[in-house]
Amino acid sequence: MNQNKQIIVEFKDVVKQFEKDLVVLDHLNMNFYDGETHVLCGRSGAGKSTLIRCINYLEKINSGQILVEGEPVTKKHARTIRKKCAMVFQSFNLFPHMTILENALLGPMKALGQHKGEMIDQIGTYFEKVGLENKMDALPGELSGGQKQRAAIVRALAMNPDLILFDEPTSALDPEMIGEVLNVMEKLADEGRTMIVVTHEMGFARVAADKISFMDAGKIVSTCAPDKFFTDPGHESVERFLKQIL
């Protein structure tokens, strides 16, 4: 089945270390495929966040190569790559001085050079999709955490990205708000958007993921489809992890 899909992100022997001896990505090789929802899980400190932050050059790698749609992730290509992959952060990172509509318009208008008029209808439908059509003119400070994260997802969608990176999108939320964000993400997965999701929400992974990878100490230990992952992950450390959190 993989053979039919195009590789969208390719990690080739990637090493990333903070300081001298703290290796976060340890000679990592990995492919992510177009149209898939790929969930990354693992203990905190395993390097999941760093991995996806390397994809849009928020972190610089020390050696190896990352290719996004065949293009190497370097300083020179950073902006072209960022136009293709949007990111949703753990702590939303909405700009507090702009309404959420302005937040969503900023990237398309300033980075992609699109006109406000062209964009505004499309962004309106995104807001409808996440259920914030009545809140478009609110400032982030006036919204709840769940609403903020949904607005941040709209901001990512507004870029019309080939790939959306989710960096623990529900970790900073109160429990009662996690559901509303996961629902939106499930919808996106159903639409067939390419997503790489770092999360601890195993329920979401089971329902929405096409593939789940388990990371440990800077390496991908296991990658498989969800049903296999939860029943027979094939690796002892994954089993231990699953036992702990389920």
């Binding site: 902006r79 952060f89 990172n93 982030p140």
Partner: protein
């Protein structure tokens, strides 16, 4: 020290025009200083190698030398190397460079305290570094900086009194000249009241601005 009303009756046209001059210089100079400071802090935030060092040196030098010496250098010094600027420009450039250094230091502090995530969010939207600063970071930093900035701007009111020493007929100069002719210090009292008035008006206005521009996070 007593208040003699006759000074006000005899000299009110001069005092009024001096008050106007002070207000004019205050407004023009503080606007110039703020704009210049914003420009400098953008350049600093761009982290252009070499340029940053030069700007750091500029800020350190102008923060740590007296404004009066800077004004004298501009006004009485520069003509000797062939640059004769009119008093207005000397005052403007002097305040712009001096207060600009202070204000840009304030803005820089607030730019640095904008959460790192906001920089990253801007970068992931494929904005250039300048665009991130221009649209995402600077507007927040400026709003946060309003209280500190208005505090610094209220110092510009006081700075205008130094212009009396470079041939500008503002409040302090006129009260000095009233004293030279009448040996009466009421002129100084009047100008003191004018400065306080300006200061109080600015305080009220800045409270409003602070309220208006407060960023909720």
């Amino acid at each position: 020290m007593s208040f003699n009303l006759y000074v006000l009756f005899d000299w009110w046209p001069q005092i009024l025009s001096a008050f106007g001059t002070t207000v004019f210089y205050f407004i023009v100079c503080s606007i110039a200083a703020v704009l210049f400071a914003i420009f400098i802090s953008i350049l600093l935030a761009m982290r252009i190698r070499g340029l940053t060092t030069i700007l750091r040196i500029y800020i350190t030098v102008f923060r740590n030398t007296p404004l009066l010496v800077q004004l004298f250098l501009l006004f009485y010094g520069l003509p000797f190397i062939g640059i004769s600027l009119p008093a207005f420009l000397c005052a403007l450039i002097g305040i712009m460079l001096n207060e600009g250094a202070f204000i840009s230091e304030i803005i820089r502090g607030y730019i640095e305290s904008v959460p790192k995530g906001d920089w990253e969010a801007g970068e992931s939207l494929a904005l250039s570094r300048f665009q991130v600063i221009r649209y995402a970071v600077l507007p927040q930093a400026l709003r946060d900086a309003v209280p500190a900035m208005t505090g610094q701007i209220s110092i510009v009111i006081k700075d205008t009194s130094l212009f009396s020493m470079i041939m500008i007929s503002e409040l302090t100069r006129v009260s000095n000249s009233i004293y030279a002719r009448t040996f009466d210090t009421t002129g100084f009292l009047i100008s003191a009241i004018c400065y306080l008035l300006l200061f109080l008006i600015l305080s009220v206005v800045s409270k409003q601005i602070e309220k208006r521009f407060k960023v909720k996070r």
